[in-house]
């Protein structure tokens, strides 16, 4: 199939359309707005529902209602907007409904700025809304992956009755890359037995997240956890580069992952045996893969566009047994591969240690630099 040159945000929108999204609800915010804008044109053209809500809060609750029908529904936003949605996301999770959310992260906290960042990691990967639930989180590193992950996100959301977040950042949203779009899927015609589709001639179905009986709530939560165990068993995804003979490895996802790839290639050309492990599912996290890889390594480097939010998960995955260093730019500053390369060289130079915390050493280096 012919490749098309598309902006990340628009490619994601078209991919969702082709995955059969029946309704989109959203509210504009940079650097995600092209996604909503594209939907505003494309969805009505196909006779599907598009609503620009009065706020993110309204948008997510429209998603909540529409998700109850078993149709494919989604929203998208960027960091501050996603924060506003979190109450609704928790309700959707608590009601065990499938939902796809795209978060095109920007610099924060607060209103921050519109530059690319990865500061929503903890919010998205470790919950977001209140209460006991997990979301599936997919982190593309290029436009083609972002496209491919949209259909996957809907499939996973439905299979596990789960919130699935496609976690991108402003760089992926704004860049153009060639991509192959999938064929248009037919719209769903069959709906699961929990969906509210009109109760004429059958027992009514009841969907809610309220459960005033703690024992019953516990049963619900355990059911969700057992489902999550299935997600962890079946859905972990990651990609490895140059790992076969690696003595050192960079762990980084999304934009930080592809920036690291450039640095790893240059380091390889210098003779450093370094590889890259790029988590694709941030939740479930590729813990075991990182642990197994780490056992063969002399040292690891975690690279993020946030202040070591994933670093803590990587350290836990390695069971704190592998000397690890940390490299990051934050607040919307995008690291150049050169900075990652310097960190790889410094890691190799040593001293290699498992003492102290990599974040503390990074913070000290940042203080010296400024």
């Amino acid at each position: 199939m012919a490749r098309e040159l598309m902006k990340g945000n628009e490619a994601v929108a078209e991919a969702a359309v082709r995955a059969g999204v029946a309704a989109y609800f959203g509210y504009p915010i940079t650097p995600q707005t092209e996604l909503l804008e594209y939907m505003s044109r494309r969805m009505p053209e196909l006779g599907r529902a598009f609503v620009q809500a009065e706020s993110e809060l309204a948008a997510v609750n429209m998603v909540y209602g529409a998700a109850c029908t078993g149709q494919r529904v989604m929203s998208s936003s960027s960091s501050p907007g996603v924060s506003l949605m979190m109450e609704g996301v928790s309700y959707i999770a608590g009601t065990e409904l499938p939902m796809v959310l795209v978060d095109v992260m920007r610099g924060g906290p607060g209103l921050g700025n519109i530059a690319p960042a990865q500061g929503d990691y903890n919010q998205i990967v470790h919950g977001g809304g209140h209460g006991d639930y997990h979301s599936i989180v997919l982190a593309p590193a290029n436009v083609q992956e972002a496209v491919d992950f949209m259909a996957l996100a809907f499939d996973l959301a439905e299979k596990y009755r789960s919130v699935t977040v496609v976690l991108m950042d402003g760089m992926l949203g704004q860049m153009m890359e060639p991509c192959e779009l999938p064929a248009m899927l037919p719209m769903k015609t069959e709906f699961p037995d929990w969906a509210v589709t009109g109760a004429k001639g059958r027992e009514r179905r009841f969907l809610t997240s309220i459960n005033l009986n703690p024992t019953q709530q516990e049963i619900t939560n355990l059911r969700m956890l057992n489902r999550w165990a299935q997600v962890e068993a079946n859905e972990i995804r990651y990609r490895e580069y140059f790992m076969e003979d690696a003595k050192y490895a960079v762990v980084a996802y999304g934009s930080a992952g592809r920036i690291s790839l450039s640095a790893v290639r240059t380091a390889r050309a210098e003779g450093i045996k370094v590889g890259l492990l790029r988590p694709i599912t941030l939740s479930p996290f590729p813990r075991e893969a990182i642990y197994q890889a780490s056992r063969k390594l002399d040292g690891m480097l975690v690279v993020e566009m946030s202040s070591g939010q994933m670093l803590d998960d990587v350290l836990a995955a390695t069971r704190f047994t592998v000397p690890t260093e940390f490299c990051a730019r934050i607040g919307g500053v995008v690291p150049y591969p050169d900075e990652v390369l310097d960190s790889i060289r410094n890691l190799v130079k040593g001293p290699l240690t498992t003492e102290g915390h990599p974040r503390d050493r990074w913070l000290k280096r940042m203080a010296e630099r400024n």
Partner: protein, 181 residues
Amino acid sequence: MQTEVIIAGFGGQGVLFAGQLLAYAAMDEGKQVTWIPSYGPEMRGGTANCTVIISDEEIGSPLVFHPKAVIAMNRPSLDKYEPMIKPGGVLIINSSMVDRKATRTDIKVVEVDANVVAEKLGDKRLSNMVLLGALLHQLGVMPAEAIEKALRSHLPERHHKLLPQNYEALHEGARFQVVEI
């Protein structure tokens, strides 16, 4: 093999479009390519730039600190990017808009009087095409015909009457030679 190009100038000079055209041409030539704009709160007359990376393999960082080539369409862009170009790289200067010479001696510099050439061709908005023509001639990653093909394939039909002028602008740009520093 990877080639990185930064195109920079004032908003409205066709900086982003020139980059997109390069990206379309690279894609149609079967290459990997990434186009990324600066997307701050921009306005007409403010600065704009984009980075285009063309490669034979999966592209890592979409941003580079040391590009292989730069088109500087105004003075601030020349001041900012000249020092960053890789040794042996290419610098295309729109000399109609820049009041100083390049200072690097370890790169290929081409001064293109792009606005004058464009106006001679009948439309000063063609200056970005003139500069792109000069760049392609020096870079050698793609023939100028690849850009012509990209224009034909990706420009909406209603603009096709402008194609001959654009082709001519590309060819005029390619006539400019490297200057001695």
